[in-house]
């Protein structure tokens, strides 16, 4: 059976170069805090990786701190800066309605502590509006946190504009760039980003390693107290191998990025066009600007999990926004934030491509999806109702004529 991995927004396959770097670095097992030669070697390996990643973001090595992934970076950025805000008498944070749970749940925790949070709407097209941002700012606002690109629908937010507004107003700007790093060009200095979260497993690096960019001069309290690692800001014996592998993966991801993105976007567009030919389907969020690999569609009368498991049975790994694992009966908060009704949001499918996908993958996906949807709709009482209403309407229209 053909196998197509189209769940790259969930996680990616490690690149061969990154994997080899990991394996090799494992043998250089010294603790980077140890003073002997093995430790010093590890120390330098981390230093080099840090500088590489920092450079790729337009920042300096001493502004980059390694973490265990995107969630930790998000938690640290927000909780850490919130402590700072308290001291300055600020208590208002601006975010968006469709952030990742790493942000949203952290913000809820802060709300319980008395912080106030404004969640900007993202409208049907999936973008925050600069005017909404400006209108939300008060003299109590200390932090704006808006994701770079949405993980479910791939829409890329107006980060540079948000950065300008925040810098002008003296508000610190964090962006959860977990879906963006390695996929779009980022320059934290030019874009006036103060804090940025990234996670290596989203760009063909290892899982369990991420980083937080902290612009020089921004003070965060520590989330993980302890040893003097990461210049005293993040305790824990450094994961040298993963750090090195992350840097290799990022370097590789950014090589010929435009070219790769063009190729991936062409596949994405062919997928979108093909899927939208299916009756009662719709694209979630605007077509552009959108991550080169993101396809997010809803099919009426079909439930997302059943759809993705059907795809899995024919070798296609995909995802649905229907939050099946979360224990909630609600569909994804992202799709609801776009204003989709529950019953439509339940029918969502996310296909996320990477440069490892091929045109044949697209052909294959397009060849099997219509049949799967037909099968599921055939047994769906919801679809039956839709069809009945349709024919009633046709009759009504006929009557009206």
């Amino acid at each position: 059976m053909k196998f197509v991995y189209a769940d790259n927004a969930a996680t990616t396959k490690m690149s061969e170069a990154s994997k080899q770097a990991l394996i090799q670095t494992i043998d250089n097992y010294g603790n980077p805090s140890s003073l002997h030669n093995m430790g010093v070697k590890a120390f330098y390996a981390i230093d080099e990786a840090r500088n590489k990643i920092a450079k790729a973001l337009g920042s300096a090595g001493n502004e980059l701190y390694f973490t265990s992934g995107g969630s930790e970076s998000d938690n640290w950025a927000i909780k850490g800066f919130a402590e700072n805000m308290k001291k300055k008498g600020k208590n208002h944070i601006i975010s968006s309605a469709f952030e990742h749970h790493g942000i949203l749940h952290t913000l809820s925790a802060l709300e319980k502590q008395g912080f106030e949070v404004t969640y900007l709407p993202v409208y049907q097209d999936g973008y925050v509006r600069i005017d909404d941002l400006k209108a939300a700012i008060t003299d109590k606002t200390g932090l704006v946190t808006i994701m770079y690109a949405n993980n479910e629908i791939g829409t890329i937010q107006p980060i540079s504009e948000i950065g300008s507004v925040c810098r002008e107003k003296g508000i610190v700007f964090h962006t959860d760039a977990v879906q963006a790093v390695g996929h779009v060009e980022i320059d934290v200095k030019k874009q006036n980003i103060d804090l940025l979260s990234l996670s290596a497993h989203k760009f063909h690096g290892p899982k369990g390693i991420g980083a937080l960019y902290i612009r020089k001069g921004i003070l965060l309290s520590n989330l993980l107290e302890g040893g003097a690692q990461e210049r005293g800001k993040r305790a824990g014996t450094e994961n040298t191998a993963s750090v090195v592998a992350a840097a290799v993966a990022l370097e590789e991801a950014l090589t010929d990025l435009d070219e790769k993105n063009k190729r991936v976007a062409a596949m994405r567009d062919r997928l979108i066009d093909g899927l939208l030919k299916i009756e009662r389907s719709r694209l979630n969020g605007s077509r552009s600007p959108r991550l080169a690999g993101n396809v997010s569609v809803c099919f009426e009368g079909v439930e997302g999990e059943a759809l993705l498991l059907s795809l899995d049975l024919v070798g296609i790994s995909a995802s649905s926004g229907s939050a099946c694992t979360s224990g909630s009966l609600d569909p994804s908060h992202v799709l609801l934030a776009l204003g989709l009704p529950h019953e439509i949001a339940h029918g969502s499918l996310r296909l996320s491509l990477s440069e490892y996908n091929s045109e044949e993958d697209v052909d294959y996906i397009l060849s099997v999806i219509p049949g799967i949807i037909e099968r599921l709709r055939d047994m769906s009482p919801v679809w039956e109702d839709i069809k009945e209403n349709e024919s009633k309407e046709t009759k009504d229209t006929k009557k009206d004529n």
């Binding site: 439930e303 999990e305 059943a306 979360s326 009966l329 529950h342 339940h346 047994m379 919801v382």
Partner: protein, 143 residues
């Protein structure tokens, strides 16, 4: 979260899918807002369920519980079918992830609703408890 092999088997090859045009009873539970709707059709002869079919909109476990539930009541007397519990359905499927147990409740309720409908059509006065016992909010269709 992961499904048992049996759940996947019933999802892949659901038994008794379809409609019965001249059904003696039809039960429909769940609502699209919550992502699950089950519609159960039964034919009854001499208080025995001679045929049963279902249509389900929902996740893999909703389809699998519908499927196995129809198998469990086909050929059974109504009284026995009414005694089918969601627990029995879960066990018959080698278990369900905790977040999916509500699907088995839906299956139980769909059967009860279909039988209640049958009694109603026949004018038989019989109490069928179609309330949603275990605190699940999504058993009643309310599009």
């Amino acid at each position: 979260m992961a499904y048992s092999d049996l759940v996947m088997e019933h999802f892949k090859n659901p038994r008794n899918v379809g409609k019965i045009d001249d059904a003696d009873g039809i039960g429909e539970v769940g609502n699209a807002k919550c992502g699950d709707i089950m519609k159960m059709y039964i034919k009854v002869k001499d208080d025995i369920i001679t045929d049963v079919k279902f249509n389900t909109y929902g996740c893999a476990s909703a389809i699998a519980t519908s499927s196995i539930a129809t198998e469990m009541i086909k050929g059974k007397p109504l009284d026995e079918a009414l005694k089918l519990t969601n627990k029995a359905v879960v066990e018959a499927l080698d278990g369900l992830p905790a977040v999916k147990v509500h699907c088995s409740v839906l299956a139980e309720q769909a059967i009860k609703a279909a039988i209640a409908d049958y009694y109603k059509r026949k004018g038989i006065e019989k109490e069928v408890d179609t309330s949603c016992g275990e605190g699940h909010c999504c058993c009643n269709r309310q599009d």
